[in-house]
Symmetry: C2
Subunit: 220 residues, 2 copies
Amino acid sequence: MPVPNDHAKPIRKTAKESAFIQIQQWIIDGTLLPGEKLNDIELAKALGVSRTPIRESLQLLEVQGFVEMFPGKATQVTAVEKESITELLPPLAALQALSAELAIPLLSDETISLLESTNKRFSEAVHAQDYFSAIKIDEEFHQIIVDTANNPYIISMIASLQAHVSRLFFHNSIVLTQQSIKEHDQIIDLMKEGNTATVSSVMRDNWLRAIDEFNNLQSE
Amino acid sequence: MPVPNDHAKPIRKTAKESAFIQIQQWIIDGTLLPGEKLNDIELAKALGVSRTPIRESLQLLEVQGFVEMFPGKATQVTAVEKESITELLPPLAALQALSAELAIPLLSDETISLLESTNKRFSEAVHAQDYFSAIKIDEEFHQIIVDTANNPYIISMIASLQAHVSRLFFHNSIVLTQQSIKEHDQIIDLMKEGNTATVSSVMRDNWLRAIDEFNNLQSE
DNA sequence: AAACATTTGTCCGTATGTATA
DNA sequence: ATATACATACGGACAAATGTT
């Protein structure tokens, strides 16, 4: 497996950064279980650094809601409650819808082709029932729109919400339906037309539908 | 003015917490100027603590976008650009609109009276041309709705966006118009009726209008 | 109730990397 | 280009607080 070299960052990679990324990944993929107690000394040894960068990472993770710190008492991984999807998706849907609106005047031909080819890859993954890839490509598709809207506040809020959604999906393995493919096409068309109001509501529904799909999953 | 005692937190107040709150306040009210270089040793001496809680506070402030850290190089207060209001308000408006929608089924009679009395106080402040109070009361009004919606993700995102808006207003002193009073009444009525779609768009416009008012301010 | 074990919070010294002369 | 000054990143020890025996 090729080592993911971070050619995107000309600034030096601090121990805190790598610790943060690693611990976050462990929480998302379930290596660190919900409710698990986090001992900074253990983590420090496991990652080959001192307590300082670990502590700093944990504090950042607390802000993002992945870790809960009780000063003087304990630090633990937050719970994963399936109900939280009903709290996560409405704001995520609203921000994604807003991104689509804001992206419209900033759309280039290149971006549109990129959206189209990404949705094609998404469609292929869905048909191949490769749902893991489908989820990642779906994320890519929406990320293109968010990046195009180019609003730093939206970008950072969506990144945080998306991380939580990813964690829920990892723990519950959601399945994306064929309907998303059509909706993505519709979103592309509406953005090309500059139909702000409609693209906003389609985008919103595209995301909110995941609440139902997620809940259906639970009852099966 | 009643001191906002934090009866919600029975946990101990750490040095990091107080440092964070103090530094954030200094940035918002302009004591620490945009672009100013932050020396952790100086801050530590000023706040009577060591460098560690200062460093940790600065990192949290970085996540919130109030400071910028260049690892190994420097740490400084982020710039306050008046253009950023056009980036802050759209997501804030979208989240406030969503809050109003989500609050509807959770509205109690007490909450409605509270909204009405708060808007009355807002109206009095506007008429008395006490614009500083008006801004604070306007914030209260919207906070009631956000708290009623009771979504932890929305609450935290709005708090962060609101802090940036406050900083801009502090540096530019915006004036709230009479139109807000009417819109607030309208919002209350629409929420009572359960008119989700309309309250959402009124709320959104209520916030987006501030962009124009802000820009008009600049050109006077 | 008091002393202990554990964990977190804080302090400060040192190393490393950056910019300037 | 080298050296010097300086700021930040990291490490490890100590202090404070909590829960337990």
